[in-house]
Every structure is written in structure tokens, then in C-alpha cells.
Symmetry: C4
Subunit: 231 residues, 4 copies
């Protein structure tokens, strides 16, 4: 069942420690097959050295296990809520990567201060609020997904133009058209989080990138007039 | 004698440089066999490239060498005191890992500022006081163990809910139900020490994690209602 | 066509991630054959794991593709402008390396604070201004080259004595007599950017290197009285 | 001639990039044979990937080349001056390692703030002054050695109890009873330089290590009552 997608999700999960985003099993990546409405996610707390593609777990859009020998990632319900609400998302990644988590712990939006940011994220990456006690009681992981949606809707953000979020006191989620893009977006997010922290330390008066440079860099890589890469 | 435990302790000691916690031989890991009341610890100052499992030294709870061709770690008496006082500890690790040592040098408790912390430590990680001249004269290493115990008793902390401590001007000790957990707890401690330092630099008004999120994250991984991992 | 130069450029591009200057394909290196007036540059957005020397693209000094199966780096026009204006340049490298980019985002010149800097750069490394909307509309990449030239001419800098520049809000460009030197200059620039940021944090009154030490270090490695290395 | 020492010096030079202290060929290690009064040092600017033990250069205590196909390190005269003045030194290392260089650029002594420092250095590591124009003209490298001697004599420091120095605006030199110790001392120096910088950032009121803890840690590893390691 969904063997190719399992292979992709398996490799994406292995990429997380390779890219320095994850220690041990702290993180999870998933990808969806829109035709069947099923997504594939890593099992919870399995050692990456022994994990196999066939250990990946298949989940429906209500978060139920459809196939799998192991329990899925404890964050599965967050993935389900996001896949259900946003048709354009093909893959999701959650990590506690060092620098993005630092911004999440500081409770601050990550502003666009350079073209490394603008090449991937078309503006500030929002920091979503803490969950309330009521939300935690109702279901921590599903409500985390709802708070992400609330954040993007309140601010009127395009989910693919800003393919990531910081959760206050927790860490980042990123997504993309597929799980490989979602991993790349996590790499970019962590790198710009590091750069922006030290940019502020070096010069506390550092400005955000002018809108014209943000436009130029984002639009030369994204949208109908893009001219980066081979297509 | 205790061949399997020697293998575990040997591997745990090799994990310390692999995880970036230790340079050269700066660190030591041990594990106890509660049935015999004997623990196994690495020899002092032996190069990790030539060290073998059979070089591990067997020690009793009063810190005496029971078996071994080499002198045990110079910190052996600290391990003995902790194993003797706390029946629930199965493994202990000591390092001078960079970021935990920075908090230890600064003489500050490490507060819970994010879920990376809350997933493993149920609250602030205490910084224990310097030893007095009298304590140093009486026996530096054993008294280091006693100061750790004093710190946990004065604050009424559960030794397994807060499986680590910072020693002022020195560095961290961590422990766990086995030596593998003790190593993981050292990795987590160093990572949150790094994250929290830069969280404070980014936003000096950063708050500690709200109690409800601390509870949720700690308790979804620990205790009878845990639902992380495969059991 | 220019097979040896393609091999050099290919290897220089692979050196960028090896030296920790580049993640994924964020960066580009080129080298020129002054006899034919043609330069070789990496293709745009090709995965470094599958890229071959023969995938390199040959370009003339007006930025036109002369040979190649792939589209060249999106920054090709910047390289062309620099090669055309400065006959002494043999290789060019562009990265978003972490610490150099931080200074670029802060919009600050990188001053010479130590001999690591002085061994390679004979004074401050300038930060060039943002492009205007008119310049972006006229051609972002070619105008980036023109702003670099403007910066060096306004300040009366020798292009080989200061073999690098920071672009405000973007990142560094470096160059050299060949592409291997250009890569080394990127490594030095990123390292001194890191050192100088933390030197300022440690002691905000840190001075620039005295002129006599700057002279001594630069001139023992460069120019007719150099005595470093084997020639 | 001195084949075994050449092998040791060769390996010590290769250890510098392995330990992350050196990029490219920025650094040099040497060792002396006290019987013959000759020391062995790496050649200047030779690529570490092609360098062989037999490429090491043999030098007398006046800095003259006695044997070797290549020109010796440009810092050879500094090594010669130190070996001539201090009989107890067996090996010397010079690097531009990141964190030690940051303290050197800041022009600050590196105080003992923790036991990682105290295990190797018995007190503050001094920062030596800039050379004057007259000293540079007389011979930059030999006078660098003289300024190190001046620094230790003015402060009454024991050369083996404080086996390292920072040169203002430049970087560290370390030494030891042999070249392997000198390399280890460079590793320790860079690590404590990093720890102490961030200790100060975390808590600007952080104290130096109390004298009693400095004594205890230094003396349990050094001198006649040492009990660390296997002898």
C-alpha cells in the first residue's frame, strides 16, 4: 500500500538528522496521496538506525490508522488537520531544530531580513500562540493544527507562500508541495532563524529586507515568471 | 563478570564523543547491576580509540575496585554516592558538554523554556553550589555526590523527573533508568542549554513554558498515561 | 570545450558544501579562460550529487550561453559583468554562507580585526548598497555586478587586494586569480565574519588591527616581498 | 634524520584540522629533540592532503634550516625563540582557532571560569601585547617569541602551568612536554574560550572559579599528588 510514498517518507525522515535538524527521533515527516486521501507518517519513537520503509504508518484524514505494525508519530493528528484543511499541501515536517526553536521559545515572528529567506518564504514566518487549557484537554495535537490554521487565517497568509510556522514554546512545522520540499523548507527556516538572530545581535537596528528585493527574489524562484532552476 | 553491562557501559562512553558531548576522554559513563550491588565504569584517561569493553572497571557501592586492570575514572566516588542513595538510578553520565557547562559556569538553574526540555525534564534543572574547602579536603568526588543529593532534597525534587544537575563552575551530571537513558538525557540537557541561552539573547523577556504545556509534554511521554513511543 | 576549466569549476562548486559554505545548491562558482574570453559556470538548481563536469555551462562576456545542456546559474550576469570589467579576476564564487550573510544582512562593512583577515584581505570588506527599483527592473543580476563595481570605484579599492564584497540583505561574492583562490577567499571571509561578530560581543571596544600589523601580515603573503609558502 | 619526530610532527599537524582548529594550512606544529638541539616543523603552505612525514623541515635553535626540501613554516623563528628560552617545552602549536582567536582579537586575558580550564591551565591565559613597528622591522616572528617571553616573565608565570598564550589581534600559541600535549592544550584553550565567552553573555556577573576549586582540579591531574589517568 502506497509503497513509493512510504519510501519517500522514510527517506525524508532520515534526511532530518542528516541535515542536523533532529537528534535521535525528535521529529517527523509525512506525505499525502491526494487520490486516496491517505497519508504516510513515521512510527513513534523508532530508532532511525533500524527503521525500514515498511514501518511507515498509513493514516486517513481523520487521523485513524489504516495500515501499520507500529503506533504512528504522536503528532499525527496535527498532520491530519493540516492535510484536511489545505488541499495544496503534499508533505509536512515537524522538528525541534535549534535555531527555529529558539525563535519559537522567544515567541517572536521571524522577519524576512535577507534573500536567503526571500528565496523560499514570501514574508515573515508567524509564531502561533500557546494552546489554552481547554484546547489541550480537547486534544493537544489536533488543536495544534487548528491554531496553525487560525494563525494563517487571521493574518490572511497564503499557506504555500509562507510554508512554515513557529509554535510558541515548542518548535517549527513546515510543509510544501511534497515531503522533499517540506524538508528543504525546514532547512531554510533553521538557517534564516540563525542568521536573523545574529544579525540583530550585530546590529540591533538591522532592517527587514525592502519589499522590492523580497519581491524580486521570491518571484524569480516562484510563480509564472520564475527563472531559477531548469524549468 | 558483568560482561553485558561492560559492553553497555563501553558503548555509552563511546557515544559521548559521537554525540559531540566530549572531547578526548573528558567524560565518564557508568551503569549498575542492582542484584549484585556492583557498578561498571570506564577507566581513567584511557584513549577511546584503543579502549575495549574488558577495560571497564567493576566497583562496589562504597567505591572500592572489585575487578579491573586499570584505575577507574577519577569521578568514581561521585557515581558510587549517587547509586547508593538513589535506588531508582541505573546509569550515570558526566561530561563537560559545551552549553550545559556554560550554564554551570554562570551558576544558574536552567529553566524549562520549551517542549524540548519538557519532553525529558519536568521543570528547572538545578545548579548545585560549589564545594567548601572542608568538603574538598574530606573527599572532593564523594562530596560532589553529597552536594547533588543536598540540592535535590532541599528543593524536594524527584530524581527521575529531573534526571540531571549542573555543578557550579564544573559541568553536568545526568542519570536515568539505564546508561543509555543517561546519555540521552545529557544530549537533551546540552541542547536545551544552548536553546535557552540564545532564547534569552533574542528576547530577554522570554517566559518559562506555561505549566499546562510543561505538564502536557512531560506526561505524554512519562508515567501511566504516556502515549509516546511503542509501549 | 574548455574541459579542464569545467573540471576545475565543477570541483570548486563541490567544495562549497564541503567547506560548509552552502546547503543544497545555494551558491555558484565560475572560472574564466581569458584567451577565448569565455567563462564556465555551474547550471542552475542541479543537485550536487548527480552533477557532472560536462554539465557546466560555457558563457561569453555578454552573458550569452555558448555551450551547455542546462540553463546556467541565475546569477550568471553578475559574473559576466565582473569578468568584463576586471581583467585580473580568474574565478568568482557566490554563497549565502552563514556569517558573511549575517554582516550583509546587518548592512555593515567587515573591518580587519585580526591577522586571519589581514593574511587575505588588505583592509575592510565593503558592504554594497541595495539595488533601486530601477536597477532591479533593468536587470537584477547585471546591475548587482554594476553596484559591486561602483562600490570598489567610489572607495578606490584594489579588486585583488580586497577580493570580496558583501551585498546588503543578500550575501557575499568573492573572487581571485583562479576559482580555487575564490573558494578560499569565501572560506576566509566567512570565518573572519564569525570571529569579528563575537569579538565585538566579547568586547564592544575591540579595535581594528593596527595598520603596521595589517601591512606586515598582508605583505608577507602577497606582493614582491612575500615569504609565505614555497615560492 | 629524526624520523620518529618527523612522524609525530606530521601527525600533530594533521590533527589540527581533524580537531577543527585549522582550515587549509592555517597552523603549524613542531617538536624538539633536546639531545641534538634540533626541532622539526611543518613546511610552509603545503596542502595537508599531499604532505608526507619526510616533508617536515629540521631546524636548529637559531632558526636555521638543517635539513628539508621545502621552506619551513613562516612562523619558525617564533618556535625557535621559545625552544631556546624554555628548556621544559617539547612541542609547540600555533593556530587561528575560532574562539581563542576571538579573545585574542578582543585583547583580553582568558580567565579560569570552570574546571575544564583548571584541569589544564593553572590560572588566566594571558593576552600578549601587539608588536611595535621597531619589533616588526627587527624580525616579526622572532620578536613575537620575545613578546611571549616578556609576558610570562612580567607576570611571573610558570610556562608549563599556563601552557598557552593569546597574541593580541592574532591568535593562540600553545605548548607542552611533547607535541601531542601541545595539540591537546590548543583544543582545551579553544573550548574554554568558547565556554567563557557565552558564560559572560549568559550572566555578565559570572565569577572566576574559586581558588580552592582551581587548586583541586589542577593538582589532581598535575604534580606529585596527581591521581588522574593510569600513572
Amino acid at each position: 500500500m502506497l509503497e513509493q510514498l512510504k519510501e519517500e517518507v522514510f527517506n525524508a525522515n532520515l534526511d532530518l538528522p542528516k541535515q542536523g535538524l533532529v537528534k535521535y527521533t525528535w521529529g517527523n515527516a509525512s506525505a499525502i496521496d491526494r487520490e486516496s486521501g491517505l497519508f504516510v507518517i513515521k512510527p513513534s519513537g523508532i530508532d532511525y538506525e533500524t527503521m525500514k520503509p515498511s514501518d511507515m504508518v498509513v493514516i486517513d484524514l481523520d487521523g485513524n490508522v489504516v495500515e501499520g505494525d507500529f503506533r504512528p508519530s504522536s503528532d499525527t493528528a496535527t498532520h491530519a488537520v493540516l492535510y484536511k484543511h489545505y488541499q495544496e499541501i503534499g508533505g509536512i515536517v515537524h522538528t525541534h531544530s535549534t535555531w527555529a526553536t529558539i525563535w519559537a521559545q522567544a515567541g517572536l515572528d521571524l522577519p524576512a531580513m535577507g534573500t536567503t529567506h526571500a528565496d523560499t518564504f514570501y514574508g515573515s514566518i508567524p509564531c502561533a500562540r500557546y494552546l489554552t487549557q481547554e484546547e489541550i484537554d480537547r486534544g493537544y495535537e489536533a488543536e495544534t493544527g487548528n491554531v496553525i490554521i487560525e494563525t494563517f487565517e487571521e493574518r490572511g497568509l497564503d499557506i504555500l507562500a509562507i510554508p512554515g510556522v513557529l509554535l510558541h514554546g515548542h518548535g517549527p512545522f513546515t510543509w510544501g508541495k511534497d515531503v522533499h520540499s517540506a524538508v528543504m523548507n525546514s532547512v531554510v527556516l533553521d538557517e534564516v532563524a540563525k542568521m536573523n538572530l545574529f544579525t540583530r545581535e550585530l546590529n540591533r537596528f538591522s532592517e527587514e529586507l525592502p519589499q522590492r528585493i523580497l519581491d524580486k527574489h521570491y518571484l524569480r524562484k516562484h510563480g509564472k515568471n520564475a527563472y531559477y532552476g531548469q524549468k
